[in-house]
Amino acid sequence: MEKRVAFRSRWLPYVLVAPQLAITIVFFFWPASQAIVQSVQQQDPFGISVEFVGLDNFVMLFNDEHYLASFKVTAIFSVLVAFFGMSLSLILAVFADRALRFAGMYKTLLIWPYAVAHAVAAVLWLFLFNPTLGIVAHWIKGFGVAWDPLLVSRDAMVLVVVAAVWNQISYNFLFFLAGLQSIPKSLIEAAAIDGAGPGRRFWTIVLPLLSPTTFFLLVVNVVYAFFNTFAIIDAATGGGPGSATEILVYKVYKDGFKALDLGSSAAQSVILMAIVIGLTIVQFRYVERRVQY
């Protein structure tokens, strides 16, 4: 049932995709190729001495237990961010979709956090949860819970996950809401007439029909957790305590821009690139099969 448009002209299709191609080449292929080149070199920060070292940078990374630990941290962080980011926004979207009054206001308010820069969001949460100044930290302590993201790894992880999830909820919310609104009301009404309660209607009709949206958001959220969260980490914990919140992309940034170790940083970004390409392929091959468009 696919519609195909046939182009007579030989060059027109290329012209039409040229702008997109140009952007992809300049902003993706070119930097990516640079990263690959630099990953097999070792150089001083100023680029005065550049030496080809083969796979030395990679060998060093995989012999570094701290780098390997960073994989685990990244996995935990990404799963938490994607899971909570998506499930919370789905709940919010379902409620906003059913709201009878003030629906417009709810939606606007829920979209606002997306306008907040990642680093600002992190600082905001840091202030709320700061053991000394934070009002939320004060409440938590009031309940008799010890709270110290400066030294306790779990607390630091909670802090960065909360900030990352909060920042991403709006985006997920928008897509879920749009998805919900495109579900034909007649289907849900038919199920209601057949005696299905709200819970059953949600699980058997709404959720399966939302699966294209959910799948798209899963890809986007994993990429978000992998790549776009380094500002949050940098502002909230700086990767600490120890290296408990040092996710892969933050280590790329820290080693490259702060420590000026370009070879290692480039090697890390090549690895990261491979992981994300791999994850996306897996998602498209296996998860997408179960998605009904």
Binding site: D44, I48, H66, T132, L151, P241, G242, A259, D261
Partner: protein, 442 residues
């Protein structure tokens, strides 16, 4: 049509470029990392110089925090647009030193321009930091600070301690902390800024023990860390124990702990002497400044402390006329009166003995008690190979590693010995990697 607009744009650009080239005044770009009140002082220095002559114009530009401005300058150098002068923090010194093609030694800049400049006029512990083993001064000392001890006199009085006597040794600090905790005079007894700088680097110098072989890296790139000595282990073990007892509260990797002190939360603090300006402005209590605590049973302690802060580097590949201007400007900064003023306004160390004398005779120290502690501590004894400074490549990364091990120790994941052994092992790996690239570059 499109081609025409392109042509016009190119023409306009060409006109703009030639117009700026035709200006008689030579511009000198100065990238720095000074914020707040310090940024105002930097702008005043540039303004003063620009008004003192009409050939050169120094343009100070704030480029972010130290690591950021350094990364920006390196990127600019790689694309051929480096600034004339760059402010680099002390942990970046080794990186700059080994980038021989990227910098022009300050000594050479002054010689070529025929400006009078005497490296010996600086306090040796300061100048030594930025001078090669052959005696060539590579960068211009600008803002230097050291570690001092601050304590809240009001809390001391409340806890039944003598507010006019600061604890001198670590055991005394902890006795005071215990009293503060048990009396409930304040909820946090002792905290520290810059854990690696205070509890490894300055701790070692103050006790006259090496941080690393080869005179703390100043005599060669093949240096090896030695911070897992019994004395270091003893001190870190104490910190771990004091942390679990609640005598010591961890504040963070940079200067976060300073806010804990001036807000009144913590009663004692070790941090940069340059924090005093901020403490003065924010503290609503009486406070005292004293020298760093030490262990009295260590022979030769206290020795002298080492500096932090930054120096000014002159970048290579600029026009001869610009170097003349740079030399004139650095000479302007080296003026003793200006140095004394900088010291008094900012809390940074007076980096020449003359500037110290001027400040002393002006009666500044009597009016502002505590401001001379840092100087006296720096000049406490003639510097030894263990206490004249340090020079390590990749030290930004290494410091982070040290602090990661410190945090893991405080969190109870490892004991002091393991933490310091790990720090040495990881640090040495970075040193070897740096040694390799630096040798190739040099």
């Amino acid at each position: 049509m499109k081609r025409l607009t392109m042509l016009r744009a190119a023409l306009a650009l060409a006109v703009a470029v030639s117009a700026s080239a035709a200006q008689a005044v030579t511009e000198i770009q100065w990238w720095h990392s000074m914020t707040g009140a310090l940024n105002d002082r930097v702008n005043e220095l540039a303004k003063g110089f620009n008004e003192s002559q009409n050939q050169y114009k120094v343009v100070p530009v704030y480029k972010g925090q130290y690591p950021e401005s350094m990364a920006a300058a390196i990127a600019a150098f790689r694309s051929g647009n480096a600034p004339n002068i760059l402010q680099v923090f002390e942990v970046g010194t080794a990186t700059m030193m080994s980038a021989k093609g990227a910098i022009k030694p300050v000594g050479a800049v002054m010689r070529d321009a025929g400006e009078k400049f005497d490296p010996k006029s600086y306090i040796s512990a300061v100048a030594g930091y930025y001078t090669t083993s052959k005696g060539e001064m590579l960068s211009f000392p600008f803002n230097s600070s050291t570690v001092v001890f601050y304590y809240n006199k009001d809390v001391f009085a409340k806890a039944g301690l003598d507010p006019n006597r600061a604890p001198e040794t670590w055991p005394e600090v902890m006795a005071a902390a215990a009293k503060i905790k048990t009396s409930g005079a304040s909820q946090c007894a002792y905290t520290t800024g810059w854990p690696s700088w205070v509890h490894l680097e300055n701790f070692s110098a103050w006790h006259n023990v090496p941080i690393a072989t080869k005179e703390n890296g100043m005599a060669g790139l093949d240096t090896v860390f030695q911070i897992n000595s019994p004395l270091h282990v003893r001190h870190w073990n104490n910190l771990k124990e004091w942390n679990s007892k609640g005598y010591f509260t961890y504040g963070g990797r940079t200067n976060e702990a300073e806010a804990k002190f001036y807000s009144g939360e913590c009663a004692m603090l070790t941090s940069s002497s340059a924090a005093q300006a901020n403490i003065n402005r924010n503290a609503k209590f009486k406070y005292g400044v004293a020298m760093m605590p030490y262990y009295a049973d260590v022979a030769g302690a206290p020795q002298n402390s080492i500096i932090g802060g930054a120096s000014l580097w002159v970048m290579a590949g600029k026009k001869p006329d610009e170097y003349k201007g740079v030399a004139k400007f650095l000479n302007y900064l080296a003026d003793p009166q200006r140095q004394a003023q900088w010291h008094q306004q900012t809390g940074y160390l007076p980096i020449t003995p003359v500037a110290y004398d001027i400040t002393k005779t002006s009666g500044f120290y009597e009016k502002n008690p505590g401001t001379d502690v840092s100087v006296r501590q720096m000049m406490n004894k003639p510097a030894t190979p263990n206490s004249k400074g340090l020079r390590f490549g990749s030290f930004v990364q290494i410091r982070d590693m040290f602090q990661e091990e410190f945090e893991n120790m405080l969190a109870g994941k490892q004991d002091a010995k393991t933490a310091l052994d790990n720090a040495v092992k990881r640090g040495n790996e970075m040193l070897r990697r740096f040694e390799k690239t630096a040798k190739d570059a040099g």
